[in-house]
Structure formats: structure tokens, C-alpha cells
């Protein structure tokens, strides 16, 4: 009887600890959020620049991320570095680096690392400046 209770306690503890240790901010979740968010922003940005609209799905944007810093394991809030791979309408593959600051609530700020996508503003079709949506953007993902 006593060993049965011990077993029950062990099972309960194991379940509780595994539920506790489950990470909320993971590499997979960030990658699954960043790729589609980037594609959605390209979709919004193109008409602003006087270009024909591009469907987000045709860009086939995907992200590959790694955590920056001394904490081992690719999970947890903090600084992350991501590479977004996407394809132009012509099928040319492009890669862009992003620095991410990820919060515990699953919201992050992504800032482009490099000049390939331009600065904070771009020249619009009317000669005025339009904000570069891909320069820095905020997004959130499900942490549950």
C-alpha cells in the first residue's frame, strides 16, 4: 500500500514538473511566427511602393533562429538571431538577417541586420517617403 502511494506521488510530481518545465518561448514557435509575419508585411508593403501586390504564400518565407547569449538551449525569452529565407516573384531566393528581442508574453521586436532591405523609410511612388515595414516590426505568437 505504501509503495502504491509512493508511486502515485512520483507520478504526480513528474507530471507537475513536466508541466512546469515546458518552455513557452521556443525556437519552433519563433520560426513559425517570423516567416509568415515577414511574408504578410511584404504583401502589405508592395502596394505602398507602387508595386503590384504579392500574395504572402508565393514568397514561401521561412525563418531559422538561434538564441543569442550564454544560456544553453534554444528556448526562452531574450535576444535571438534569425535568418529569413524567401523567394521573389521571379523565384530568386533571398536571405535576410533579423535581430529579435523576445518577451515572455510571446511578443517580439524584429530589427533587420544589414542594408539589403533598406533603411527605416523608402521612396514611395509619389516621391514622398513611406515607412519600411520590414526594417523593424513587432509581432506575437502563442505561448500556450
Amino acid at each position: 500500500m505504501r509503495s502504491a502511494w509512493k508511486l502515485l506521488w512520483a507520478a504526480a510530481l513528474a507530471t507537475a514538473s513536466s508541466a512546469c518545465m515546458r518552455a513557452q518561448v521556443t525556437q519552433e514557435r519563433i520560426e513559425e511566427s517570423l516567416g509568415p509575419t515577414f511574408a504578410n508585411l511584404v504583401h502589405v508593403q508592395e502596394p505602398l511602393l507602387g508595386q503590384p501586390p504579392v500574395a504572402a504564400a508565393t514568397l514561401k518565407a521561412s525563418a531559422s533562429c538561434r538564441k543569442v547569449g550564454p544560456v544553453p538551449g534554444n528556448r526562452g525569452a531574450g535576444a535571438w538571431k534569425c535568418t529569413v529565407t524567401w523567394f521573389t516573384v521571379n523565384g530568386t531566393p533571398l536571405r535576410d538577417e533579423y535581430d529579435l528581442s523576445v518577451g515572455m508574453d510571446g511578443c517580439y521586436t524584429a530589427t533587420v541586420d544589414g542594408a539589403q532591405l533598406g533603411g527605416p523609410t523608402l521612396h514611395g511612388p509619389g516621391g514622398g517617403d513611406v515607412p519600411n515595414l520590414l526594417y523593424v516590426f513587432d509581432a506575437c505568437f502563442d505561448t500556450t
Partner: protein, 67 residues
């Protein structure tokens, strides 16, 4: 609660806080949309409401003399 919600803690602890639900609406405006944090937040808020309202009602009843 605010400080605890900012640090990298276990999910069970986050579920017990009232501050993460304050930003749970973000999921409604994301593409694709998600409601996981909102559902958990509603449950947490409901538990807090029941426990503390219950305690308040019980305390109030004890204090007032019954007619």
C-alpha cells in the same frame, strides 16, 4: 506580479498571475489568430474573482448581525 510576468518562469506560475492576460488580446490581431493565452487568462481571472468575491461575501455575512 508584474515583475514575475517579465521573467522566464514556469508556465504554472504564469497561469497564476493576473498580468499576462492583460496582453492576451494580441492574439486576436495576429495572423494566424490564436486565443490560447486569452482562454487561460479568462480562467485565471474567473478563479481570482470566485475566490476573492467568495471570501468577501463570507466575511461580510459574518460581520453583519442576522435579523
Amino acid at each position: 506580479m508584474q515583475l514575475l510576468s517579465l521573467v522566464d518562469g514556469p508556465q504554472a506560475l504564469r497561469d497564476a498571475l493576473l498580468t499576462p492576460p492583460l496582453v492576451a488580446w494580441h492574439g486576436l490581431f495576429a495572423a494566424p489568430r490564436y486565443v490560447g493565452p486569452l482562454e487561460r487568462g479568462l480562467l485565471t481571472s474567473a478563479v481570482y474573482a470566485v475566490v476573492f468575491l467568495g471570501a468577501a461575501i463570507l466575511g461580510d455575512r459574518r460581520r453583519e448581525p442576522s435579523p
